[in-house]
């Protein structure tokens, strides 16, 4: 039925217009036309600018009539647009008064902050036209998609094994063998691999549109062009990166990404997005004017009293997250990704910034974080905070959570690394980390669901580099090795970097196995870094954000070379997924509330039921009672894990099992393949049921059944 308001009321040249609807913001396809709506409280005048796709100059500039402004929103419907073939921008007039926070420039073509599709960087790495008057171009895209039966998977967070990956790096290397390397479609071709590895969640490093040419320069070391490869620098929050889509050249990145999500869900794999709401690609006062600065600088950015940009992100500016308008934009954005892309969860980069007020001071109950925690649409989405920022706010264990937010547990990473390399004095901390860090989270009754456990992530060493380097080697980044973290808690096993020494190489592989074992038997949600499962190295570069080359790309040839690492990962992941006692949602009670004769968790050492907690000790073991799995709601085997990070072999007395049960070995990192690990369910009965000799720097996993 035709609506009575679906006809124009005004004309401008050949264009037919009428007043639009202010909500929703952005460009929305409506019967007979497109509804444009943009907020700016300080602009005195606004124009809609239309380009033919890729055209150097606009073909039309249509001013918003005075009566087309409702409140602080400029809105109009333009009829009969060939919206598939146009790009649109705004021009805003208003005061240029930086001290007051205003930086209007009526000559600039501004991208709509709410645009769902952005042209201009359609093919990754293709040299842009540096003189383009409008480099990042808002487009209008169809929001319909046939999801059929698809629905976000809603896997309990403690049952996830998260795989953190870079869209391009995952398949860009020619060894990946996919038809469209470095794209969403490439990931889709690798779904069988992800299933074989056993992960049930991928966390994608930023996939919002960004400019890979931002700060591009030539490396002084190897002459290669350095670009923004990671993409922690948003241009548009609602638009997927075109250069990550094989169909980006046709402007169909939206459909390609949705198709990837749908296929992943069909295969039982969730999708978490790494979202960067702490700053934008506009940088400080010397940066480009892409959108926010020209539309409403004072609203979008945290400004000093003199009108300069606060820099809590380390990237030049700070998004004004607790301004009500920006807060709503973030909420609209996340709802959009959850609703239109069926995204299962979000990891918030430098999330501590989201809890700062408009002057930068940390808040007790930040409205944005509270809003997200209680939002009905996001109600089943995972919300994960990187609970620190570049301004020195560190909130691991104290991030305002309302029982909803999980955290990247940075303390888990640091303690595990130090224990792994043989530091002393860590048993107390390790006991906490292995059982979901109750020291950090119990006071809020947050349980194991608060802790994302990880040893490596995109920031920092890969796992192979962690056991091969004492120091970072970031010379190729062109900053005199000053960039990247220095607190790596790494150990090179006796030689810095690559070596032919088989003793050192075997020790490194053992340390990798030790690390992944400890990660996957810890309570909480494990996250592994893509490539660690095949021993990927970045040559000691612990900050490869600018390396779009073999340093970062995953070389699939490693799968053959390091097949024993892959097999170990695969079986360890399967073991975790087979044993609910490793995946409790709530913390242990350290009592026997099931009447099994064993507490839910008990601690052991060289003697059963006794741990030498003294600072010189590097040995610890624990027993999980299968009757207490998932809070006693399901039954599982008994599982015993002994960790000997001392450089000598030690005997561990095994705790006695209930009558009729025996100890079986699942994994022993000290022995060579194929006896280092077995398929879950195929564990081997051990001869000596009373004591186990655990090799130097080794971990064993036993199953009692």
């Amino acid at each position: 039925m035709l609506r009575i308001d679906s006809h124009p009321t005004h004309t401008y040249g050949d264009f037919k217009l009428r007043i639009g609807k202010p909500i929703p913001f952005g460009a929305t396809i409506v019967p007979s036309g497109v509804n444009f709506s943009v907020y700016s409280p300080h602009a005195t005048r606004c124009e809609l600018v239309l380009f033919e796709k890729h055209a150097p100059q606009p073909f039309a500039i249509i001013p918003f009539r005075d009566e087309f402004r409702i409140g602080n929103v400029f809105t109009m419907v333009v009829f009969d647009l060939d919206y598939e073939n146009i790009e649109y921008a705004y021009r805003m007039d208003g005061p240029f008064d930086p001290k007051e926070g205003h930086r209007f420039d009526k000559t600039k073509f501004l991208m709509d902050p709410y645009t769902k599709c952005i042209g201009g960087r359609d093919i990754w790495g293709e040299e842009p036209n540096w003189n383009d008057v409008y480099p990042h171009r808002a487009r209008i895209y169809f929001d319909d998609f046939d999801w059929e039966q698809d629905h976000p998977l809603e896997i309990p967070i403690e049952d996830l094994v998260v795989y953190e990956m870079h869209v391009r790096g995952f398949t860009r290397h020619l060894s990946s063998g996919v038809k469209h390397p470095g794209t969403f479609a490439g990931i889709r071709e690798k779904i069988p691999y992800l299933k074989e590895l056993g992960v049930n969640c991928i966390e994608l490093m930023p996939i919002h549109e960004f400019n890979e040419f931002e700060n591009s320069r030539i490396s002084p070391v190897n002459g290669q062009r350095l670009i923004n490869y990671w993409g922690y620098s948003n241009i548009g929050f609602f638009a997927p990166k075109a250069g990550y889509a094989a169909t980006g050249k046709y402007g169909m990145q939206v459909d390609e990404l949705k198709t990837l999500v749908k296929e992943l869900h069909k295969n039982g794999i969730e999708v978490i997005l790494d979202v960067v709401f702490n700053h934008t690609a506009e940088g400080n006062e010397n940066g480009p004017c892409i959108s926010y600065r020209g539309i409403d600088n004072k609203t979008y950015y945290m400004l000093t009293p003199d009108g300069y940009y606060y820099n809590f992100s380390g990237c030049g500016n700070t998004l004004n997250c607790n301004n009500p308008i920006v807060r709503n934009m973030i909420l609209d954005c996340l709802r959009y990704w959850a609703t239109d892309y069926h995204i299962d969860g979000f990891r918030f980069d430098l999330a501590a910034i989201l809890g700062r007020d408009q002057n930068g001071a940390p808040m007790h109950s930040p409205p944005l974080l509270e809003t997200l925690a209680f939002d009905p649409v996001l109600g089943k989405c995972k919300l994960i905070a990187e609970a620190w920022d570049a301004g020195g706010l560190y909130q691991v264990g104290s991030f305002p959570s309302w029982g909803r937010w999980a955290e990247w547990n940075g303390k888990y990473r640091d303690d595990l690394r130090r224990f792994l390399r043989g530091d002393d004095g860590l048993l107390g901390a390790m006991a906490q980390r292995l059982q979901g860090s109750p020291d950090l989270y119990q006071w809020q009754q947050r349980g194991n669901r608060a802790s994302i456990n990880f040893i490596t992530a995109h920031d920092g060493f890969t796992l192979m580099d962690l056991v091969s380097h004492n120091w970072k080697h970031n010379e190729a980044n062109g900053e005199n090795n000053n960039d990247g973290g220095n607190d790596n808690y790494s150990w090179n096993c006796g030689w810095e970097g690559n070596t032919d020494d088989p003793v050192i190489n075997n020790l490194r592989i053992k340390q990798i196995k030790n690390a992944i074992t400890m990660l996957l038997i810890s309570q909480g949600t494990p996250m592994v870094l893509s490539g660690d499962e095949m021993g990927k190295s970045q040559g000691g570069n612990n900050n490869a954000y600018c390396q779009d080359n073999e340093i970062s790309w995953l070389d699939w040839g490693l799968l053959k070379k390091n097949v024993q690492i892959f097999n170990f990962f695969k079986n360890m992941i399967a073991f975790r997924r087979n044993h609910p006692v490793l995946r409790n949602g709530t913390h242990f009670k350290n009592t026997d509330y099931m009447g099994s004769g064993y507490p839910d968790i008990s601690w052991h050492g060289q003697k059963a039921w006794y741990v030498d907690w003294s600072s010189g000790s590097r040995m610890i073991a624990f027993l999980l009672c299968g009757k207490h799995a998932k809070g006693g709601t399901v039954s599982d085997n008994y599982i015993y894990i002994a960790m000997n990070m001392h450089w000598e072999m030690h005997g561990f007395e095994l705790p006695k099992l209930p009558g009729g049960m025996k100890w079986y070995i699942f994994a022993n990192t000290d022995v060579p393949v194929p006896n280092d690990i077995y398929s879950p369910g195929e564990e081997v009965l051990i001869e000596n049921q009373y004591e186990f000799l655990v090799g130097p720097r080794s971990v064993i996993v036993l199953v009692g059944k």
Partner: protein, 111 residues
């Protein structure tokens, strides 16, 4: 864009020449829908179609759903590798069966 229909062994073969984009999609829909009748059997011969935009793919998907409702069937023939790739990567190929030649497509609908 031109649309031409012929009948081959009781199957309607619709040949599309040119491209289907936001401008031509409404016309394509109107023309093709003429042949969407209960129990119809249609082959869309795409060998002369050099480009389909996302608006074009959406129109084809909508037509496909109408055909299903009318207990009809349709298949595609002669897609270029480029178009087939785009349809694969954007998920549209999940909804269509494709054959290399028109004869194969006609035979498939007759069997």
């Amino acid at each position: 864009m031109e649309i031409k229909a012929t009948t081959q062994n009781e199957v309607t073969v619709i040949e599309i020449t040119g491209c289907i984009d936001g401008n031509t999609a409404p016309k394509a829909e109107e023309e093709i829908m003429k042949y969407v009748v209960p129990g119809c059997r249609l082959v869309l011969n795409m060998s002369q179609c050099n480009y389909i935009s996302s608006a074009g793919l959406r129109v084809l998907l909508v037509i496909g759903k109408q055909i299903l409702l009318k207990n009809g069937s349709w298949v595609f023939a002669g897609l270029s590798e480029e178009i087939k790739d785009v349809m694969d990567m954007t998920g549209f190929s999940n909804f269509f069966k494709t054959y290399t030649t028109v004869n194969e497509a006609v035979n498939a609908l007759r069997s």
